[in-house]
């Protein structure tokens, strides 16, 4: 039971008195909670718009019929003839580009037979091929009204359309065309992307599904609405899960801060606790006083964190959306909505972290006996005595973390990897006191030599305030370790990708349709493009590649087909160790053999020689895996055919990309110019090798920008913690500083001493943090990343970045010490020396 008057005088009053420290603690918790909320909100907003915006117009569909490599339109007739009370609507869904408005979703639906709604019916039959229905949100952005014309580029050519009608669609943006027009423009005669099924009320749902199944080929899938959205969310699970874990770093750093605040509170009030206990206060009463303080700070930080999270989410959403689009699937960011669940999550997160991190110091407060009024010296002496014992624990826990990291994933999640990370952080925190004691002993003479008496006092002061300084070091080291490990992982990944791009991109020029090129989008090139390219003087070979999205074992994957002979001759595709590249590529043409990317192999447990059953068009094809190659373009994984094999099953597949190889004697810019001229009437982009590589690296950097932002917040929280703890340290040792003034210390010497202490703290934290960071980067690269995404990353620590970042952290720690140093130098020695 918490006695409120006591809480007010013993806890609230000091919190009010030390307003700056209270504010710093609350701000740190708010930042920690805010980041977690921001990542959740931004993640939802960035990935939450998979549901077809068509639903806003035509209502919810009951079933979707889909297939890998398009549905044959001829199946519409038998479907509509089925003896079921249901409506079938053919749909084409693609991305188009509108001048000035960028990329938009374009649907082709049947304006005539499928009365989608009054808007479609209002389009006159003779105007079908030039009319478009535009969502009001898009029209507003395009600044067009009914009757206006606009230019929409689909696949390769711009077409003029007239706005026949506007539809209100909340915030979603789309253009609706008649399906025949869409098929014509996209050169997709007789092909559909899906068929939406609307079951009439009262009709037996399962009977409809059974009837449909009975006539369609086995390779066609009948999905419940939302399956695609669920599938996308599932695909993004690992990505969001890793992002979420990263967002918890600030919270962990914040936890150290609460631990520190409460332990400062307990140490300072030991005499009061002794008096309270002597006057009859129970142990639990004392315990709950301090827990109350922690919970109050946690709750206040959480409330502030909600507001902060909403603000941060706005910045994070575009970064996350970029990553999702680049690596996973096309989506449009939705509005950020903050609801009851987010508020509850924030409150629970903040208070639970506060509760857990204050358990130890609050428990310590219970141990104060009525006769005890232990001073700092004895308390710190105990801390020094425990340093060796804690080091033994650190070694033990570190030793346990190693085998834990080796364990396999649990339900696809690298739980053991995260567990090992947490254990390593605990081990580091326990090793911090021994590290400071050791550093203090070793650097004593050096510090005095270089920095005079202030240097000696600073290093010895750190060891003297061990309980306090080790918390600052542990918090800072955690932030530094996470920064270093993620920087090493991202740096290694970047270097691996650059090397991979070098091996993968061997052609001189690449041709693709203009417009957005997000993951999972493969707009087609004109069928004549390969021949046009090959006819240009100077061109030696053209690899025609066609890509599409497929579903394999319930998961999204990419399927591609290129010319294996050209890849063998010019490319340097790298296969997993032990595979003969030449032999593998030679075995592909005309055979039911494929190569798969490493992420695909890892995700589906595929090995060389495995047989894949791939639904293609209206049949299911069995192909043998001839080889597994390294690939970092998409986490969903690739299955690559030789073009001749794919055309056998899916004839008339339009190319999506061309890789153009030039003769040695050819002038690259001349050929490029000629190619652009030859393809001028189509909307295509001709990119030279170098710009493609540069773009890929730019996309990569943008993709990982969010991780740096998250680390930045963790470092800021650690800095707040350092400033807060240094301030506490100054308050605790104020009599010491007063005494030094009596002994002839100048205020500038006191200031220098605190700044040096801050600097030494920064050095100790950097040493521990970088050591831990290197260890954690190995877990990230070889365990967490491998289990989450299936990529093999070569270890390439970005040393320049790391040394720059650690110098920055060191400088920031010293900056965090400026205010406490000034406070210490301004203390009135008479006042502090006579406090007793």
């Amino acid at each position: 039971m918490l006695p409120l008057p006591l809480f007010r005088t013993l806890i609230l009053r000091p919190l009010r008195r030390d307003l700056l420290r209270t504010a710093l603690t609350i701000l740190a918790v708010a930042l920690g909670v805010g980041v977690v909320i921001a990542i959740d909100l931004a993640g939802d907003a960035a990935t939450g718009s998979f549901r077809s915006s068509l639903e806003t117009l035509v209502g919810k569909t009951d079933l979707d019929i889909v297939a890998n490599g398009a549905i044959e339109e001829r199946w519409m007739r038998p479907l509509t003839a089925l003896p079921v009370n249901a409506r079938f609507a053919p749909v084409i869904e693609t991305q188009g580009v509108i001048e000035g408005a960028g990329s938009v979703t374009v649907y082709g639906v049947d304006f005539i037979t499928q009365a989608v709604n009054s808007h479609a019916r209002s389009v006159a039959t003779q105007d079908l091929d030039t009319s478009a229905i535009v969502s009001s949100a898009l029209a507003k952005r395009m600044n067009v009204r009914e009757g206006d014309s606009f230019s929409l580029a689909l696949s390769d050519q711009p077409c003029k359309f007239r706005v026949a009608s506007l539809v209100d669609s909340n915030e979603t943006e789309f253009v609706l065309l008649d399906i025949a027009t869409a098929q014509q423009v996209l050169n997709q005669y007789g092909k559909l992307d899906r068929i939406d099924v609307f079951v009439s009320p009262g009709e037996d749902f399962t009977r409809v599904e059974r009837e449909i199944r009975s006539i369609l080929p086995a390779s066609y899938r009948i999905e419940m609405p939302g399956t695609r959205s669920d599938e996308n969310q599932r695909m993004l699970r690992a990505f969001r899960w890793n992002l979420r874990v990263l967002s918890y770093i600030s919270l962990v750093v914040g936890a150290f801060l609460i631990y520190n605040t409460i332990s400062v509170s307990v140490v300072r009030r030991r005499p009061e606790i002794g008096v309270l206990r002597a006057l009859g206060a129970s142990r639990s009463c004392v315990f709950w006083l301090f827990m109350g303080e922690a919970l109050l700070l946690g709750a206040a930080g959480s409330v502030a964190g909600i507001a902060l999270g909403r603000v941060m989410a706005a910045s994070a959403v575009s970064l996350i959306a970029d990553t999702v689009n680049a690596l996973y699937v096309s989506s449009r960011p939705a509005a950020i909505t903050i609801g009851i669940p987010e508020v509850v999550t924030a409150l629970v997160t903040g208070t639970v972290v506060a509760f857990i991190s204050s358990l130890l110091p609050a428990r310590e407060s219970m141990e104060v006996t009525p006769v005890e009024a232990m001073g700092r010296g004895a308390h710190e002496h105990h801390a020094r005595m425990h340093a060796r014992r804690d080091l033994v624990w650190a070694i033990l826990i570190g030793a346990i973390a190693w085998p834990v990291s080796k364990a396999g994933p649990v339900a696809g999640n690298p739980i053991a990897g995260y567990g090992a990370t947490l254990l390593a952080i605990v081990a580091m925190a326990l090793a911090a006191p021994a590290m400071i004691v050791g550093m203090s002993a070793l650097t004593r003479n050096v510090a005095q030599l270089f920095f005079g008496p202030e240097g000696l006092l600073a290093v010895r002061g750190l060891a003297a305030s061990l309980a306090r300084s080790s918390i600052i070091v542990a918090a800072l080291a955690t932030a530094i370790a996470m920064m270093a490990s993620v920087a090493i992982m991202v740096g290694s990944f970047r270097e691996t990708v650059i090397v991979w791009l070098d091996t993968q991109l061997r052609a001189d020029l690449y041709v693709r349709p203009a417009g957005r090129a997000g993951a999972g989008e493969h707009p087609a090139l004109p069928a004549e493009a390969p021949a046009l390219a090959a006819s240009i003087p100077g061109v030696e070979a053209v690899d025609t590649f066609c890509a599409m999205e497929i579903e394999y074992q319930g998961q999204r994957a990419s399927l591609g087909a290129g010319d294996a002979a050209i890849v063998r001759r010019y490319g340097r595709l790298r296969f997993l160790p032990g595979e003969d590249r030449d032999a593998v590529l030679r075995s592909l043409p005309g055979q039911d053999r494929v190569i798969v990317s490493e992420p695909f192999a890892n995700k589906h447990g595929v090995q060389v020689g495995s047989v894949l059953e791939l639904p293609l068009g209206d049949r299911t094809v069995r192909v043998v895996v001839a080889g597994i190659y390294y690939d970092y373009s998409t986490e969903r994984g690739w299955v690559i055919f030789d073009r001749s094999t794919l055309l056998k099953y899916l004839p008339n597949q339009a190319p999506t990309n061309l890789a153009v190889y030039l003769r040695k004697s050819a002038d690259g810019s001349q050929v490029r110019h000629a190619l652009e001229q030859r393809l001028a009437k189509y909307r295509v982009v001709v990119a030279p090798n170098r710009s493609l590589r540069r773009n890929a690296v730019t996309v990569f950097d943008r993709t990982f920008a969010i991780t740096y932002a998250l680390e930045g917040v963790a470092i800021v929280v650690a800095m707040l913690g350092a400033a807060n703890s240094l301030l506490a340290l100054v308050l605790d040792r104020r009599r010491e500083f007063g005494m030094l003034r009596y002994l002839g210390a100048a205020p500038s010497q006191i200031r220098r001493m605190i700044l040096l202490e801050a600097g030494f703290l920064g050095v100790a934290a950097n040493m521990l943090g970088l050591a831990l960071g290197f260890a954690l980067s190995l877990v990230l690269i070889y365990v967490i990343n491998k289990q989450s995404f299936g990529w093999t990353i070569q270890f390439h620590p970005p040393l320049a970045l790391l040394s720059g970042a650690s110098t920055l952290v060191l400088a920031a720690t010293v900056i965090a010490g400026i205010f406490p140093a000034r406070a210490a130098a301004r203390l009135n020695p008479i006042e502090v020396i006579h406090e007793e």
């Binding site: 010296g377 030094l740 009596y742 002994l743 100048a746």
Partner: protein, 227 residues
């Protein structure tokens, strides 16, 4: 004519608390010679500590003047005051005020280090030997008894051979035997090093060993006795 080492001339100190004036010292005049030991006695709150603060150049009188070595403390700037404390004054406190992070020797050495004096270590060893604690040079304060800690504090106060030693209740926290040892050392500081020792005390023994006893009451000197 020889100037006194430490002189207070009609020194008064008034504190303002919550808009109310509190006169801690009222026109106190006192002159102390080299090699003298002066005991300030009187009840708690009579102004002893205020007088020590003025004498140690840690505070300034509201009116009147304090001269150390012939210079008025109020005329000195922050750097000059710091230099004055480093060179001419040594302090001993009731609660020892040793730095827990430093060894005994380092604590003694500290004033010399702060003043960047050469051969600090030798001087510190000499003073530690003088107080009889050479064997405790590498011990930390928490490993010493109260009496030992106060002896270390006296060694620290004398390490830079100050002209003035100011001690605020140096035996207030010690048993009788330790208290006697500490008083003996303060007397010795005056006799051997010629220091001017000013001690605020409640203890009759401390007052007895002084060459001059100054009785204070309500911020005023009410009696001066010379031994």
């Amino acid at each position: 004519m020889n100037l006194p080492r430490l002189e207070l001339r009609r020194a008064s100190k008034v504190y303002q608390t919550n808009g109310q004036k509190l006169e801690a010292l009222h026109e106190v005049s006192l002159a102390l010679e080299a090699g003298s030991v002066t005991a300030l006695v009187g009840r708690s709150g009579c102004g002893k500590t205020t007088l020590l603060n003025l004498a140690g150049a840690m505070d300034f009188p509201t009116s009147g003047e304090v001269f150390i070595g012939g210079r008025a403390t109020a005329s000195l700037n922050e750097n000059e005051l710091t230099a004055l404390r480093r060179q001419r004054i040594g302090f001993v406190f009731q609660f020892f005020q040793l730095l827990p992070a430093l060894t005994t020797l380092e604590n003694v050495e500290l004033p010399l280090l702060l003043a960047a004096t050469k051969r600090a270590r030798e001087a510190a060893r000499e003073r530690l030997e003088w107080v009889g604690l050479s064997e405790k040079a590498d011990s930390y304060p928490y490993q010493l008894s109260g009496g030992q800690m106060q002896r270390v504090a006296i060694a620290r106060a004398l390490v830079h051979s100050p002209e003035i030693v100011i001690a605020d209740e140096p035996t207030g926290n010690l048993d009788d035997a330790s208290g006697d040892q500490v008083l003996g050392l303060l007397r010795d500081a005056a006799d051997r090093f010629g220091a001017t020792v000013l001690v605020a005390t409640h203890s009759a023994e401390a007052a007895a060993m002084a060459s001059m006893r100054v009785q204070m009451r309500d911020g005023r000197i009410c009696a001066v006795e010379r031994a």
